[in-house]
């Protein structure tokens, strides 16, 4: 069972560069989420999607963009990388039915220098 797959696992960017963090799930989940986790902090919701073609902002969306063209994929885009975006990024998905938890990928560790 692949579950939620995130690529890359690690990345170093220079200030001002752009990149896309990939997330794919093979569980046919409608709901997908992007979180960031800073040291000593809980996970903060960046963006989420309730289905293909539908996305919405979470708690900390500034500096990020998302798209959801298929049920399986939910990429996160950083357009102009800033040091404040240094973090570990987690993608998660859920069925969306009551009582079903979110399942997380292994994360992408991103450093902006």
């Amino acid at each position: 069972n692949a579950g939620v797959t995130q690529t890359p696992k690690f990345r170093i960017l220079k200030i001002g560069q752009s990149m896309t963090l990939q997330c794919a799930q093979d569980m046919n989940h409608n709901y997908m989420y992007w979180y960031r986790q800073d040291p000593g902090m809980g996970l903060k919701l960046i963006y989420y999607s309730v289905g293909a073609g539908i996305t919405d902002k979470g708690e900390v969306p500034n500096g990020y963009n998302v798209s959801r063209s298929t049920t399986e994929d939910f990429p996160l885009r950083l357009e102009l990388a800033a040091p404040s975006q240094t973090s570990v990024y987690f993608c998660a998905s859920s069925q969306g039915r009551r009582g079903q938890p979110q399942h997380f990928g292994d994360g992408t560790r991103l450093s902006i220098l």
């Binding site: 709901y31 809980g42 996970l43 919701l45 987690f90 009551r98 009582g99 997380f104 994360g107």
Partner: protein, 114 residues
């Protein structure tokens, strides 16, 4: 603004000890509360609690929710070194339809020494 406070923030115990982790919350449109265990990588799901007073158990782990006092506890009995991890509490807020949003606490870092 939703708030989640976990205590203690860190805890060091010896194998065989019993630990209690606390989570208090203030969440609008509360639906349920989830506990996750995070080792080196992805948070892994432990429990989802929706009703007050009903204990959920999985092996040596158990958890209970008090919706009146707005808190939950996670108990681990006969701790093992493999229990060393960050334990995250996440109340879920109803966002309409079948969607829900999680607000995560900072976590409790549990270290179990042999």
């Amino acid at each position: 603004e939703d708030k989640v406070v976990q205590s203690p923030l860190s805890l060091v115990v010896h194998e065989g000890d019993t630990v209690t982790l606390n989570c208090s919350y203030e969440v609008t449109n509360f639906r349920s509360l989830l506990w996750y265990k995070q080792e080196k990588k992805a948070p892994t799901f432990l429990f989802m609690l929706t009703s007050s007073g009903i204990e959920k158990k999985s092996g040596r782990l158990s958890s209970i929710l008090d919706k009146k006092e707005l808190f939950s506890i996670l108990n681990i009995t006969a701790t093992q070194t493999g229990d060393s991890a960050i334990y995250l509490c996440a109340p879920a807020r109803d966002s309409g339809g079948s969607n829900y949003k999680l607000t995560f606490g900072k976590g409790t870092l549990l270290t179990v020494n042999p």
